[in-house]
């Protein structure tokens, strides 16, 4: 790209493609699919940014990353500047650059989107984060002098980690309690290695440890200690326990061996490393797998089954392609890898022999009239049922918070769906000193929204620790 003449920018409408492993190769391995921009591609892509007077991308980002700022610095070759700008608003840019649904967020409102070629903000974010890490440029944020206050953070997913990091930065002492044997939440047990390499997540967690956080694993709040007991030991508690409890459909045959939740399938493969040769944890190696649902979780499960050797993998989804909730890139990758999409299809029963799954019975759907939100609901087509042989069904139709804290904290206000009721600006619950954020409040959402909630809660916790005032306060911004 030639340098634009001063004052005026040449509009370059070629979004630089992301180098990736070829589909037929990657569908047999667990190494990362998207390889990341080279310095050259990143510089070219960064120079496509028009550095608009009225940039809208920042409003599209749930944590308001200074997008034009970091891209400007990158375009100038100032990697150190770019990473520090990014990290001002986003603790985990290497993660977000990989897993944010950019096409619905920052890139959806980029002024170039109308011309069909928004700047590849996510890819640039990833490049800056990876390159800076490679050059050892990422330093843990400097903690302020100690305030002597102690905060317990429950759950170590993106919400808990972000909250912990901000609290440390503000000089508070933090102990993170995690139920599983490794911290990271969905980033560790859910999202597969080929999409988010675990060493990236571990690197970020090591930094939070280096800042002084104590991380206690194998500790289940509600069981190892109740929320009230923690509250009595700490000056404040943040609950970021996610929405991990998987839903099932309640249709015949669902308890057959061979039907499992996406969480079980992905946890066996990721957290328990069943994808590695020699790992002890059993994981089914199907011939034909059907994954029910079409969100990110479903794409991850389907592509995992393929990598574990399935000959055929179907995504069974009751709506059409337009309604698919997964990130666009994941859908495209899944299609390239040969995942078969059965749209407008609803499982109605599972069949088996000797307790083991052998078939899935599906019914075709058509889209009905739009509802009040404008979404067209699927309507069954009578008599369209058909059987498909398969030996693994993975349910990825949604999840809600586990009941452990709710069951043992009767005064904590929760919704009918089991989510904790908390103010969305401050994370304050109905119990003074108890804050909550992330999926446990919203139901399953996104990494960046969980991080945003962790950050808002940290600011509000700081406020409470300094003032002792519990009235729900408006967070700035």
């Amino acid at each position: 790209m030639a340098e634009p003449p001063s004052g005026k920018k040449v509009i370059d409408l070629v979004r630089r493609p992301m180098p990736a492993q070829p589909a037929d190769e990657r569908s047999h391995n667990f190494t990362e699919v998207a390889l990341g921009y080279t310095l050259e591609l990143a510089s070219e892509e960064a120079r496509r940014c028009l550095d608009c007077k009225m940039p809208r991308c920042m409003d599209g980002c749930p944590v308001n990353v200074d997008i034009p700022g970091f891209i400007r610095e990158l375009a100038k070759g100032d990697l150190r500047g770019a990473i520090s700008t990014l990290r001002e608003h986003n603790l985990l840019p290497a993660v977000c650059g990989r897993v944010c649904p950019q096409e619905n967020q920052c890139e959806a409102v980029c002024n170039l989107v109308k011309r069909g070629a928004s700047v590849a903000i996510g890819r640039l974010e990833r490049f800056v984060a990876d390159a800076a890490a490679m050059d050892n440029m990422i330093e843990p944020p400097q903690p302020s002098p100690s305030t002597g206050k102690r905060v317990a953070v429950v759950g170590s997913g993106p919400a808990g980690l972000t909250c912990a990091c901000d609290l440390l930065r503000l000089g508070h002492q933090v102990t993170i309690y995690e139920a599983l044997h490794e911290p990271g939440g969905v980033l560790i047990y859910g999202i597969p290695e080929f999409r988010l390499p675990k060493h990236i997540v571990r690197r970020e967690i090591d930094q939070i440890r280096a800042m002084g956080a104590e991380i206690v694993c194998d500790f289940v709040v509600g069981q190892s200690a109740t929320l009230s007991e923690l509250r009595a030991q700490f000056d404040a508690v943040f609950v970021g326990t996610g929405a991990g409890l998987p839903w099932f459909m309640g249709i015949p045959g669902e308890n057959l061996v061979g039907v499992m939740s996406a969480n079980e399938y992905l946890t066996r493969v990721n957290l328990l490393k069943a994808y590695q040769t020699g790992a002890a944890t059993p994981v089914p190696k199907p011939r034909v797998a059907a994954v029910v649902g079409a969100g990110n979780v479903a794409m991850d499960a389907a592509r995992t089954a393929l990598r574990l050797g399935a000959k055929q993998v179907h995504i069974v989804y009751r709506r059409s392609r337009d309604e698919v909730p997964a990130r666009l890139e994941e859908v495209e990758h899944a299609e390239e890898e040969g995942i078969i999409f059965d749209f407008l299809t609803l499982p109605v029963a599972f069949g088996g022999e000797n307790g083991r799954l052998t078939t899935i019975t599906c019914q075709k759907q058509q889209l009905g009239e739009p509802d009040e939100r404008g979404r067209r609901s699927p309507v069954p087509i009578e008599g369209s049922e058909y059987d498909m042989p398969c030996d693994l069904v993975v349910m990825a139709i949604g999840q809600s918070p586990n009941p452990l804290i709710k069951n043992t904290t009767p005064d904590l206000q929760t919704s009918r769906r089991g989510t904790i009721s908390a103010d969305d600006k401050t994370g304050r619950t109905n119990l003074p000193g108890v804050f909550a954020g992330g999926d446990v409040v919203t139901g399953q959402a996104t990494v960046i929204l969980a991080m945003g909630a962790g950050r808002k809660a940290a600011a509000s916790i700081d406020d409470w620790l300094r003032t002792g005032e519990w009235a729900i306060v408006e967070a700035e911004g």
Binding site: Q223, A280, P282
Partner: protein, 290 residues
Amino acid sequence: MYEIVERRQLVPDHHVLTIHAPHVANKVQPGQFVILRSDEEGERIPLSVADFDREAGTVTSVFLEAGAATMKLARLETGGTIPTYMGPLGKASEVEPCGTVVLMGGCYGIGALYPIARAHRAAGNRVISILEAHTQWLLYWTERHQAIADEVYVMTSDGTAGERGLSFDKLTALLDGGLAPGLVYAIGCTFLMSSAAKLAEERDLNLKVALNTVMVDGTGMCGGCRCSAGGEPKFACVDGPEFDGRAVDWEGLMARRRAYRPQELATMRRLDSSGKLASSKPAGKGPHHG
């Protein structure tokens, strides 16, 4: 890392495992379980709690060496460490005054019943323990049960100790003799529990069983432990592990227990004497609760 205070074979294939884990010991109640891993590559294994000492910060389980996972566990040495020990998990037993409580256990269940029996005794109930084993040399903890129970019956399949027969037979005889227990507990293999359930159905007994389903996380996250009780879907790790024995769908449960059998055998064949996996082909072994 958690210290192995004791790992000892009680009788062939049955081991006692005591771990120093104050975070569990502080809170654990009878009827709860823990999840542990024997090493960093290891599978997560659920085990019922068979005893605990809050002051010493220790928790004890009895496990049966059944699959590859518990085979590795059985090779751990006293004084060593394990990387994961999580809990207490599941709901505690409800212990209320209810007259006579009969506790029937076999296999790891003899251990798992012990703290429950102790709690019922402390609550003022009359406690009758029925301990079952194939043969005399597979019996353990008889004296422990004798020390807390009002009556202890021993049943062996071959008649080498106590009476010949199953715990099921003893309970039937006691009922025929006019015993009217307020509560019956059955913990052990699925066969023991499901046959107790049949009897409970016939004789209208209040029966509690502790389910040993496949489990991964123990927090309601995987759904691997799902079962059906009273026609309702349940997650054994958070809704249980104890359920009304008459409400459980036993057939569905047994099918699910068999989930990973073929892979489990494959792993066992690859375990060499050090407990390390021998070859490099991916395979697995079955979760075990016991």
